[in-house]
Amino acid sequence: MPVFRLYLKITKSRLGFILMYICISLLIAFILIKAIPTQTSGSFSDSKVPVGIVDRDHSTLSKELIKYVKSKQPVHMVTDSKKVMEDEIYYGTSSYILIIPKGLEKSFANKDGNILDLQNLKTPNSSDGAFVDNQINSYITSAKAYWSSGLTIKGSCEKTAETMKVKGKTSILGSDNNSTNKISPLYYYIYILPYPIICILIIVLGTTLLRIYQPEVKKKNYASAMPLKKFNLQIILGSFTITLGIFAILSAIGIILFHKTLGNVNLGYVLLNLFIFTLTALAIGVFCGFVSNSLNALSGLSNVIGLSFCFLGGVFIEQSVLNPKILPISKLLPTYYFINNNDLVFFNTSLSHSNLMTYFSNCGMQLIFAAAVFAIALVISKRKTVLQ
């Protein structure tokens, strides 16, 4: 199979690129694993926001408030200086700084019923800020209410501490609440794979097709004794071998590194989703190979397509915060369905019938995208051949 061997030989010349992207994806995965707080798929747990506190009141109320916030969030005390507070936010040591004003406790006795406002420093209108705001407001409202009922400050704080222990029941859809499976780091690893997969396959398949389908090489091939059908068959075989190889390497890395953390996750569904996405990347790679005319153009295309698909499909920007106006476009991209399936498989310890329907329809959408791109690539190739 000379054409197939040539295919592999050209791929070997791009081994540096493949290794670079594999290393990038590994690095990203390791950083994400280290960084993203542990989540559970079985039971719900509140998010943690690092809070810095400046206590200017040093009263019973302020001490009890700090105790309460400490029970909810990772807290550390911050020196009362503008520079220190700026540094806290700049270096990310605190995402939220609470300043308890001097005279807060005394303001409970104000005749007009208004108490001193606490101050905060946070990212404006962030969800993290709204969450901590709610917790602090809840505490102060409760303490003030108990105080208004005639209790002392100390008594109010004790009662408030008891009240704050009351909480509702929160469960995760489609999961067994008794289990406390941590979300496997494999989730984050798989999550970021669309970018390297798209880049690698565009560069590798694109380079090979670009070289094999150069007008002069093509003419020589047409003139050779090898039937065109056999020639094309070996090209297809080569493309699939490379795609399978990339899929196998990236999956193997994930499985080897994270197999112990899988828990109840159905690895078959994870790999099927990844394989189908790799097929869509294959179609994109073939398309780029036919439309580009230089290696530099391929490099540009790989980054433009890789980054746009990841930004608009919900890989780099969480799908829940994607611009609603852009969602119709996101839904045209395979990354959108890939991420949906990844969430579905990792956040549900068992897949219900409706989950499975959603999973397979997401796979279907990715395959339709692949088929459409592949068809366009073939049309372009045909037109190029006719023109030549």
Partner: protein, 379 residues
């Protein structure tokens, strides 16, 4: 002579379409993608995005009336916390599995929340349910201990909305999402590295035909390289100005009011990128294509670490490996913009700038040492 050579170099470099793409078109394309992804979340005075939720109520349940009333209150105002839909349980499940809502409440004689995963928006919904139950518990407690004060207490609870006042040390009210755009501008500064690689390719006889002619000619290498660097710097600064204008005036990204210092940052960032490119070009003994590929990879990794693809990345690095943030040029550039926009802390800003200058000098010196006195065999 100098001006003539500078103009030739300028023309020659501009005609390299690959360089034009990477330094002008690619950043603009990427900025557009980010802008489309974030939508109105980048406006200078953004609003909190209400958390989408649904309520499944049970008629005549203990909590039905009060909880529904409370959530309706939360939907009102200029910055509502939640956005509520009343549905059946089946519909709510469907909406949740399609990610149309963050979670749904089942309200009757008990209250419970159903979500699809753990997250900050899910935590907000949980906190709302907890606050409601706590207020209920509080009223029950007061009814037991001091029923006479109940009217004062209920008035207090219904009146109290927020006890927190937001303060800021800067005039900027942008969201954390601007970090993506600062990282993008930093990446474009570092893309001057493509010019650096290209310039080295023009003086290494094994890399290009022009380099063979230059090596053979009796001119000194240093002035030639300096003129090439100056023309590359001019083009890169022009591309940065185009990108800055696009980000500032079309996308309304907040860069603060220190225009002069912002320009200084991009200029020093650009010099640092150029030095990086010269260093890559000098140290790697591969084809020009391989060098460009490597430059794409290196700048992409540095940009990723500075928050180009994941805005929380700098904080994560700061926690686990802070030295990377102190030395990553992309991070230093992006942080300088951040300092200028959000803080009036010039000490942090100038520390970043001094580090960038030091990095540039080190890379330049290393490149000079690697490139000087090279000889090529005539085979």
């Amino acid at each position: 002579m100098f001006i003539k050579q500078f103009i030739y170099s300028l023309k020659y470099t501009i005609k390299s379409y690959a360089l034009t793409f990477w330094t002008i078109l690619f950043p603009i394309l990427l900025a557009t993608m980010m802008f489309l992804g974030f939508g109105n979340m980048l406006n200078s005075e953004p609003k909190f995005n209400p958390v989408k939720t649904a309520i499944v109520t049970e008629n005549n349940g203990k909590y039905t009336k009060d909880f529904t009333a409370m959530t309706k209150e939360m939907e009102k105002g200029s910055s509502p916390l939640i956005n509520v839909k009343n549905t059946s349980e089946k519909e709510a499940k469907k909406l949740l599995s399609k990610n149309k809502i963050i979670g749904y409440y089942l309200v009757g004689d008990n209250i419970s929340l159903v979500v699809s995963k753990t997250g900050i928006n899910q935590s907000i919904l949980n906190e709302i349910q907890n606050s409601f139950l706590r207020n209920y518990n509080l009223i029950e407690n007061i009814l037991k201990t001091n029923p006479k004060s109940i009217s004062t207490v209920t008035e207090q609870i219904s009146k109290d909305t927020s006890h927190l006042k937001e303060i800021s040390f800067s005039k900027s009210k942008s969201t954390g999402n601007v970090q993506y755009f600062y990282a993008l501008l930093a990446m474009t500064c570092l893309y001057a590295a493509f010019f650096g690689v290209y310039i080295v390719g023009q003086i290494q006889a094994d890399q290009s035909d022009l380099a063979i002619r230059r090596v053979m000619s009796p001119i000194r290498k240093l002035p030639t390289v300096l003129i090439d660097c100056l023309s590359a710097f001019t083009i890169n600064i022009a591309s940065l100005i185009i990108l800055f204008v696009y980000l500032r005036f079309v996308m309304k990204v907040d860069f603060g009011s220190h225009l002069g210092l912002t320009f200084l940052t991009t200029a020093i960032g650009s010099i640092c990128g150029l030095s990086l490119g010269l260093f890559i070009g000098a140290i790697i003994k591969k084809s020009p294509d391989a060098k460009v590929g490597l430059t794409v990879g290196i700048t992409m990794v540095l940009s990723f670490l500075s928050g180009l693809m994941f805005s929380a990345m700098p904080n994560i690095i700061e926690k686990h490996l802070p030295i990377v943030n102190r030395l990553n040029p992309a991070m230093l550039i992006a942080n300088s913009f951040y300092c200028l926009t959000f803080y009036n802390n010039y000490a942090l800003y100038f520390r970043n700038i001094v580090t960038l200058i030091a990095l540039s000098i080190i890379l330049l010196l290393a490149s000079v040492l690697l490139l000087r006195r090279n000889r090529y065999a005539s085979i």
